[in-house]
């Protein structure tokens, strides 16, 4: 990869749908087609939809960056949709809507929560590094399997939930 490469724009790349829900990227000048690319945000928390990096996977399974899209809004609606869809595929988390119960046992917290994907239970190791800030008021909880649970805004929890939550996650 050439580090001096300019940002990717609608002029120098074409993005279109490939087989099996993948997307392909064609570099216009270099005349190279990359199949099954995936995209990753450079600032997933502070600026998720700008500075989007596109990667391809080599035959060996290793990955390499093709380039960075600085501003997604200059792409056509269709390309934009493909990029955002692929971007969202790179991130996965459960969004916590309601905290039903939190119980402490031997250094683990058992959370019972209602998420955007239904009711779930998970164990969180009771350590600072397992509940980290996202944005000004949110928290990401990383459970024992490294699955991620997001509370977008702790202040918006009901007083009872907030009380329960901050009793354990007080940092």
């Amino acid at each position: 990869m050439n580090p001096k490469k300019e940002y990717l724009t609608p002029e120098n790349i074409k993005i279109f749908k490939g087989e099996f829900n993948t997307i392909n990227v064609y570099l216009v000048e270099e005349e190279i087609l990359y199949k099954g690319v995936f995209v990753v945000s450079c600032f997933p928390i502070s600026n998720p939809y700008n500075f989007i990096s596109i990667f391809y996977q080599k035959e060996t399974g290793e990955v390499e960056e093709i380039g960075i899209i600085k501003d997604i809004s200059i792409f056509s609606e269709e390309e934009k949709k493909l990029i955002l869809e692929t971007l969202n595929k790179h991130y996965f988390s459960y969004e916590i809507r309601r905290i039903i119960d939190i119980r402490w046992k031997f250094g683990f917290l058992l959370f019972v929560v209602e998420t955007d994907k239904g009711e779930r239970q998970f164990y969180l190791k009771w350590e600072r590094s397992r509940a980290i800030e996202i944005g000004k008021r949110g928290k990401i909880l990383i459970d024992i399997f490294e699955d991620r649970y997001v509370i977008p805004d702790v202040q918006k929890l009901t007083p009872i939930e907030k009380n329960l939550f901050t009793r354990f996650i007080y940092w």
């Binding site: 087989e19 099996f20 829900n21 993948t22 199949k35 099954g36 995936f38 997933p44 996977q57 035959e59 399974g61 290793e62 969202n88 595929k89 790179h90 991130y91 996965f92 988390s93 046992k105 031997f106 250094g107 683990f108 994907k117 239904g118 164990y123 190791k125 350590e127 600072r128 590094s129 459970d143 024992i144 399997f145 490294e146 699955d147 991620r148 009380n163 901050t166 009793r167 007080y170 940092w171």
Partner: protein, 720 residues
């Protein structure tokens, strides 16, 4: 739906490819791979196993994709949350076995997660560890008591003294009663007065003595126990493999030493002076109250529910606020530590003002949290005092009426009132028992957790002493990843003959240091074997092994102490001559002699006062002094100028004959004379040979050399 016959492997995933919760079956038969969605938006597909060229797992943030390779391209065909990852790594191996005609197992795919206890489903700290939950709640207490058992004699003495103390403290009100009823009001035995006063004085005096004794003994026992606990912890920390330190921050480990051990200490002393004493007091006073007048005693019980309830409510509310105080204290000191150790950088970038603002933020935060807690307490305490007073008022009224009606003597009333004064305080302490107790179990749990951690690197059962190694090293198909899911070294093989000087080169991040980490047994390899003098290093304890390896790291680490002490760290009984010789080989002698105190120059924390290159040369001298048959320099000369680097290597090759030397160097020019150069790229050995052979090959090594020569000539320096 067609019927699938001859199912060999079957499992399911929890997400569809778009990240919706789903239930998707994966079925593998001897010639096909099926994806069968029962839920979710994904379509059903199947592939001929023959057409699939490979499998892969692509980890993304929070989930991962299962990929198959078709026509040279990897395609995401399944997605799963991290909780299911183990299934799919296993699935790959099982399919490969199936394809290769090797034995395979479907069961292994659908076992519970290896991080969960197979019996109760409670999480384990690490795979294969004992389950804390199955060990039962009482187990922790049992262990605490086993720690106490060494001091059981003293503990019995404390108990005994405590009971005497309680009994003695019940005496004065009784005496008061006699004093009032027999001497002061009825004047029946006026001559008793001096004796009663003497008894009062004596009982108070003895009680004070006993309290002093109990305090002294329990503090001594407490410090004894915590001291031995600290030593055990430190021993364990030294024993643990490096991967423990990859996972746990030094900060958390320090907390184990300070606050957790303190909490433990607190328990031991508290248990004696607080908890047990309060129980005895409560029982003793209860008996006294009821024996004087059971009806009045019942009145005293009225405020009890309020006292308990109030205390509980208060702690529910205040306790989390205490956490916040501790947290803001920790944050403030972390911040200070960080800024002060980086003060040079702060000044260099003129960021003092911003750091001051950040400091203000943390300081204000601490102020607010402390204030909240203190306000809470100042509201609570008077309320409680009022409640306690209420009990007294009831007794004054009901008891006073009884006295007027002649059902109760004045002395009895007085005694009663003094007992009440002693009654409620133990009650509040006992109410907080459960909170205090659960804190204590958390702290001890965290301590035991460290004590119970098994080092990741398994040591052989049998300890074999090695006389002196010849220094032959062989890597056979070694694969390794710090995260087992992500291999860093892939199938590495090479052999180093005794006495050879070998260079390892490759881009930064290619895995050079990792090879050394494995050779020194800082981590256990996942596949293949490493042989030293033909012996598998798994059969050698790491302690024995490292005695024969001199390792110089890229990051020089010096301890506080003199230069001589630092050089002789690995061999404290080294002679002066040995120290100087080692320093000479490391090309350090010259600069050391420039200090007024020479080898006795005192170094600050981490070797403050020396330049990067000087520190490195001292660490090289340190390794040389131990005279190990194998010497490893991992970019140990990167901050040394080219000329000194050359000098060090010349000295090494002249004085260091017959020892195996592995040099990882960034400047390739210094490796020209090496017997062998191993070129690593992306975790694989790509070229092996000496300088001439590799130059002729015109491969990766050649390119690296050309690149460095060009860079050097741009710098204006000529490569000779």
């Amino acid at each position: 739906m067609e019927e699938i016959k001859d199912i060999k492997l079957e499992t399911e995933t929890d997400l569809d490819i778009f990240g919706n919760t789903a239930k998707i079956k994966i079925i593998v038969t001897p010639d096909k791979f099926y994806v069968i969605p029962e839920q979710g938006l994904q379509e059903k597909i199947s592939f001929d196993l023959k057409r699939i060229e490979g499998f892969n797992i692509r980890q993304t943030v929070g989930s991962a994709f299962f990929q198959i390779k078709i026509d040279g391209q990897y395609i995401d065909i399944l997605r799963f949350s991290n909780a299911n990852r183990y299934k799919f790594t296993r699935l790959i191996t099982q399919i490969q076995n199936l394809k290769a005609g090797l034995p395979f197992s479907n069961e292994i795919l659908n076992q519970p997660h290896p991080l969960l206890c197979p019996k109760c489903g409670f999480p384990l700290q690490t795979e294969g560890e004992k389950c804390q939950n199955c060990l039962q709640q009482g187990a922790i207490l049992l262990r605490v008591f086993s720690l106490l058992s060494e001091h059981i004699g003293w503990i019995f003495i404390i108990f005994f003294l405590m009971i005497i103390g309680v009994v003695l403290s019940l005496v004065p009100p009784r005496i008061t009663k006699i004093l009032v009823d027999e001497v002061l009001t009825t004047k029946k035995h006026v001559d008793w007065l001096p004796y009663l006063v003497i008894i009062l004085i004596a009982s108070e005096f003895i009680r004070a003595q006993i309290n002093m004794l109990v305090g002294t003994i329990s503090t001594s026992v407490g410090t004894l126990i915590t001291n031995s606990l600290r030593k055990k912890l430190f021993e364990k920390l030294e024993e643990l493999s490096l991967n423990y330190y990859d996972i746990n921050s030094i900060g958390t480990i320090m907390t184990r030493f300070s606050s957790d051990v303190e909490a433990f200490h607190g328990f031991v002393t508290q248990a004696g002076q607080g908890f047990l004493l309060n129980i005895f007091m409560l029982i003793g006073i209860g008996i006294m109250l009821f024996s004087i007048n059971w009806l009045l005693a019942l009145y005293v019980m009225i405020p009890i529910p309020f006292v308990i309830f109030g205390t509980l409510i208060f702690w529910r509310g205040v306790y989390p606020k205490y956490f916040k105080v501790w947290d803001s204290q920790a944050k403030l000191s972390t911040f200070l530590n960080n800024v002060l150790s980086g003060i040079k950088t702060v000044k260099a970038f003129s960021q003092e003002e911003r750091e001051f603002k950040r400091f203000t933020f943390y300081a204000d935060n601490l102020k607010d949290t402390v204030r909240t807690v203190n306000i809470n307490i100042s509201v609570f305490n008077p309320l409680m005092t009022f409640l306690f007073g209420l009990g007294g008022l009831i007794v004054w009224y009901a008891g006073g009426k009884n006295v007027l009606e002649g059902k109760l003597t004045l002395g009895e009333l007085m005694a009663f009132l003094s007992y009440i004064g002693m009654f409620y305080t133990p009650l509040t302490h006992l109410t907080l028992l459960s909170t205090w107790f659960s804190n204590f179990t958390t702290a001890s749990h965290r301590i035991f957790e460290v004590l119970d951690t098994e080092p990741q690197v398994k040591e052989p059962k049998k300890v074999v002493k090695i006389a002196r190694l010849k220094g032959e090293i062989e890597f056979k198909n070694v694969s390794f990843g710090y995260d087992p899911y992500q291999p860093i070294l892939k199938n590495i093989s090479f052999k180093i003959e005794p006495g050879e000087t070998v260079g390892i080169v490759g881009k930064s991040g290619s895995g050079k240091t990792t090879i050394i980490n494995l050779l020194c047994k800082f981590y256990d390899i996942q596949e293949g074997e490493i042989l030293i003098d033909g012996k598998n290093i798994k059969e050698i304890t790491s302690y024995e092994l490292r005695k024969h390896i001199g390792l110089v790291l890229q990051e020089p680490f010096l301890f506080r102490g003199t230069i001589a002490e630092n050089i002789s760290y690995g061999k404290p009984d080294a002679t002066f001559e040995e120290i100087i010789n080692a320093a000479k080989i490391a090309n350090a002698h010259e600069f050391i002699m420039k200090f007024p105190n020479g080898y006795d120059t005192l170094l600050g924390e981490r070797g403050a006062g020396l330049s990067g290159g000087e520190k490195q040369r001292i660490t090289i001298a340190r390794a040389i002094l131990c005279d190990p048959p194998i010497l490893i320099l991992d970019e140990a000369t990167s901050s040394v100028d080219t000329e000194s680097e050359k000098k060090i290597q010349d000295a090494l090759s002249a004085l260091w004959k017959g020892r195996t030397t592995i040099i990882i160097a960034h400047r390739l020019s210094t490796l020209r004379e090496a017997d062998k150069i191993i070129v690593i790229d992306n975790g694989r050995v790509v070229e092996i040979g000496n300088h001439m052979e590799l130059m002729e090959k015109r491969g990766i090594y050649y390119n690296l050399i050309v690149m460095q020569t060009q860079l050097a000539s741009i710098d204006g320096a000529l490569i000779k």
